[in-house]
């Protein structure tokens, strides 16, 4: 019984996926190794750095601390699911505009955490941004620019949120569409 493959059904970045996973493989491993979605990063593996942050049913989690089999029936959004085709997510654009990405390794997790924060709190205070991103470490120490980027995206008000899942301001909600990268990267 140990090590037996299990079939799970999940929606990843808007696309239905049915895959066989090993019970001891984390959601992080399933996303990166089985689905080829390498935007989600592996780093500390103890839930401290946040590089592996994804949304599971719109809630941010460390995918290194969740088994792939636990995601059966869930809807997952990774950093690859934030952009809409060629059009960047407002947070991605704000990160570019403020120079928030230095080496870039933590940025996928920072973006996903920020997306979760803004969905819940569309106009966060600085303290709320700091707390919302406290589970995402940046080894370059670029916190000021990251906080500035999230504040800028919030101020622009052009971000998708839960209340906006019907297409507020012309920006589709997170996880509400099929994204191109994973479709191309991972044969089913």
């Amino acid at each position: 019984m140990t090590g037996e493959l299990r079939r799970i059904d999940m929606t990843v970045n808007g696309r239905a996926r049915a895959i066989d996973v090993l019970p001891h493989h984390t959601l992080l491993e399933v996303l990166r190794d089985d689905l080829g979605l390498t935007g989600t990063k592996e780093c500390c593996l103890v839930g401290e750095c946040g590089a592996c942050t994804v949304l599971v049913d719109d809630v941010s989690v460390d995918s290194c601390l969740m088994l792939g089999v636990e995601a059966d029936g869930a809807s997952i959004t990774t950093v690859e699911g934030l952009a809409f085709g060629e059009r960047l997510h407002p947070l991605q654009q704000a990160f570019l505009d403020t120079g928030a990405a230095q080496c870039g390794f933590c940025i996928p997790g920072q973006l996903v955490s920020a997306a979760a924060l803004l969905a819940e709190t569309p106009h966060p205070t600085r303290a709320e941004i700091e707390e919302g991103l406290a589970g995402n470490l940046c080894r370059c120490g670029g916190y000021e620019q990251i906080i500035e980027a999230v504040a800028a995206a919030a101020a622009a008000g052009d971000h998708p949120g839960r209340a906006a899942s019907t297409g507020h301001a012309g920006v589709p909600a997170v996880g509400d569409r099929a994204s191109t990268p994973d479709a191309e990267l991972a044969p089913q």
């Binding site: 090590g3 001891h24 984390t26 941010s60 460390d62 088994l67 406290a134 589970g135």
Partner: protein
Amino acid sequence: MHAFAYERPRNLADALGLLTDLGTEARPLAGGTDLIIRIRDGSIRPRTVVDIKGVAELERGIREDDDHLTIGARTVMTDLLRDERIRRDYAALAEAAAVVGSAQIRNRATLAGNICNASPAADTAPALLAYGARVVAVGPSGSRVIPLDAFFVRSGVTTLAAGELVSAIELPHPSTPRGSVHVRRTRRRGHDLASVTLACTVDADGTTRIAYGSLGPRPLLVVDETGVLADPAATDDAREARLAALFTDATPSPRSMRASPEYRLAMLRVLGLRALRTAVERLGTGGRPS
């Protein structure tokens, strides 16, 4: 991570059956924020992981009962800190839940799991002890209620029997107006384990309850019924003398990397006094955090 089998029982009987049959070879999985780390670092090697999130009888949510709130086994930290009843009547628990890990951790970590892991530094433990929380355990021979103070033994060890699961945590309704608060000391801002974690409740009848963790093998509860601590007119000297007498059982480990025993003991007195002032203040303003 080593290979293991995964079971997701749909009801309590099946879950308890699996845990009884498999014994120490099985580990229950709720939020996984401690379990997965311990499996990965090799400190435990279960052959089967029993995911309890599909068990119909184990609730996620907070229910109003006659004389208490019932917090279901699958309730996560984020649920607690967003619940209006918890924020109003159990402010210290809401404040403690808000500092457990990061947003990502709080979205997965359950209150029951925090208690079952029995870390001396568990941030929710002092608040639960101060509020007189009870643990509802279910096992093959039925269910029983364990006062939380009789649940903790030492780091990682509780009085939960083999084959038992925690199905809920009960929080008695306050019997008098009450002010309460949670405070902690960490090495850094942002998320970190506590060097001292402490909760304080002050009742209108003059009873003060202080519980603290990270200063010995298990979190401890002390109760002051002299009224000295609850007296808004008491001097700091009088309070400090009373606190020093109450904190004599603190035995911080000399081997911890987070803080020296001397520092922890000093901070215990500082945080005790600070928490007391806040709890007395909150009692004066109707028990709510200002």
